[in-house]
């Protein structure tokens, strides 16, 4: 099949278009802006709606409005902008409106920098705004993933009526790789709940207000049951050489590619290492972790481009079953040699 060379942000935007997304609301921020720019170029030609909003708050609320009509809609930003959107994401999650929110992430806190980071892991996987809720979080590791996950994101969003976040390091948004263009899909979800004018039916009301305590609790229990269903069905991870691994590296996004190279290298040196790459950060693929432990992994090494966030989920998954260590950089993606050095040091210390 013919491949084309595309930039990560543009592949993601094109993936959204191919998924039938015809509305985009956003606010410029590095390193995500190419997504908005791509939509601004494409939509006038194909009958889509592009609007540069006055702020991130406005953008996410425009998404709230457009999603309420059943339209496939997307917004993208980066770290500080995603923080501003959190208020709206909480409403969207509670109102159960499908949409895709993209975080082409950078390092924080505060303004931080525009270099690649995975510092928003907690924010993305713990809901991020006020109240008990989750968004689904997909972590691409290649430009092909950027296109594929954009398309998959809309399917998951419609299937579970949930906001789906795609979180990719800034580098992934900016770099180019050859990819296969996917065929466009026709969204096939009925949305009888949408606010499209009540002609011929009872009025639809999209509400997030539940004042009676029993109703509020019931609502939260319902959301939990939905999240439990997603946990049961949608945990995704890629495993590499974990069957006999004594030491398992865990890394997502771009870091997983570095980790995979390191695993191949240390295997040559006789170290039984493997890799688990979480693809869904929420729901976290804890069963993949547990399975590796059951297969004999003595030690897990969380590799992150932050100061240690996913490592907590690995510990929760293992619940004391195996030991967990952490190695991280921030703003800088380590090269495979650096990771090989870290792994060799551990292997020597542990006699692996």
């Amino acid at each position: 099949m013919e491949k084309v060379l595309m930039k990560g942000n543009e592949a993601l935007a094109e993936g959204a278009i191919r998924a039938g997304c015809r509305a985009y609301f956003g606010y410029p921020i590095t390193p995500s802006s190419e997504i908005a720019e791509y939509m601004a170029r494409k939509y006038p030609k194909i009958g889509g709606v592009f609007l540069q909003a006055e702020s991130e708050l406005a953008a996410i609320n425009m998404v709230y409005g457009a999603a309420s009509t059943g339209a496939r809609v997307m917004t993208a930003s980066s770290g500080p902008g995603i923080s501003l959107k959190q208020e709206g994401i909480s409403f969207i999650a509670e109102a159960e409106l499908p949409c895709v929110i993209v975080n082409i992430s950078r390092g924080g806190p505060g303004l931080g920098g525009i270099q690649p980071a995975q510092s928003d892991y907690f924010q993305a996987t713990r809901g991020g705004g006020h109240g008990d809720y989750h968004t689904m979080v997909l972590a691409p590791a290649s430009v092909q993933d950027m296109m594929d996950f954009a398309m998959e994101g809309f399917e998951l969003a419609d299937k579970y009526r949930i906001p789906v976040m795609i979180m990719a390091e800034g580098t992934l948004g900016q770099m180019m790789e050859p990819i296969i263009l996917r065929d466009p899909v026709t969204p096939g979800y009925e949305k009888p709940w949408a606010t499209t004018g009540c002609k011929g039916r009872k009025p639809n009301v999209i509400t997030t207000l539940h004042l009676p305590p029993e109703e509020l609790e019931q609502r939260n229990r319902y959301l939990k049951s939905k999240y439990d269903l997603i946990k049961a069905r949608e945990k995704r991870a890629e495993t590499f050489m974990t069957e006999d691994a004594k030491l398992v590296l865990v890394a997502f996004g771009l870091m997983s590619r570095v980790a995979k190279r390191a695993v191949m290298e240390v295997r040559k040196r006789g170290i039984k290492a493997g890799l688990i790459r979480p693809i869904t950060l929420w729901p976290f693929p804890d069963e993949h972790i547990v399975e590796a432990a059951e297969n004999g992994a003595k030690l897990f090494l969380s590799l992150e481009i932050n100061m240690g966030q996913m490592v907590e989920d690995i510990k929760l998954a293992l619940n004391g079953r195996s030991r967990v260590e952490f190695y991280g950089r921030i703003g800088i993606i380590p090269n495979p040699e650096e990771i090989v050095g870290v792994v060799m040091q551990i292997a020597e210390r542990e006699g692996l």
């Binding site: 425009m62 709230y64 409005g65 999603a67 004018g197």
Partner: protein
Amino acid sequence: MVLPATPKSWYLPTKPHKFCPGCGHGIVLKALGEAIDELGIQDKTVFGCDIGCSLLSWNFFACDSIQTHHGRTTPVMVGIKRARPELITIGYMGDGGGYSIGSQHLLNAAVRNEKITVILVNNTNYGMTGGQMAPTTLPGQKTETTPYGRDPEITGYPTKGPEFVAALTSDGAYVARGTVSKYKQLKRFIKNALQNQIEGNGFSFVEALSTCPTNWRTNAQQTWSFLEDEMEKYFPVGEFKSPLGKGEK
């Protein structure tokens, strides 16, 4: 007992409504309901309400409705209208949502001349939270957070919404200020604001001066006198901008 006629577009199971006795919201919403009926747009309307007292209107109409908050009603209605231009979108909010915490949205929707209708109720205070200062609180007016009266040296002068919206919008916008003390005029303004959206001319904005006896701590006579003598003096009533013919003063 003879009950007063209610607009067809009202959702009757939620009536009588939950606003305080003497509150002006019911009057504004009656005018809006009658305007929706007369224009025959009930089944293509999406009604969005903000947080605060305006939120009590979330199930007020037998129209598709959506709850939002903190002045975000404006961009939510923009999102709906942009995604489905055939719908009539009505954002309903208070002075806090529109002029303070969500002012960026009102301002920019006006600048972009978004083809939506915003109805903003000005009762000079934050009612739902217990009567604090609003952007529209009059100089010298006592509220829970201006217990010695609003001092413009400290908090500035009241926001004049229709004036700033009129200044920011371009041709096609409809901007008016009505008052619950002049029901027929208020209803005409609201109907014009909807007609202007139906015609796709531009942003349509109506501020409605309204009453809040609960937080003003006023009796019936004092309530009406504050509205007609104080508020209407400070906030002139009339049409500021209309593409539908000559503006009404």
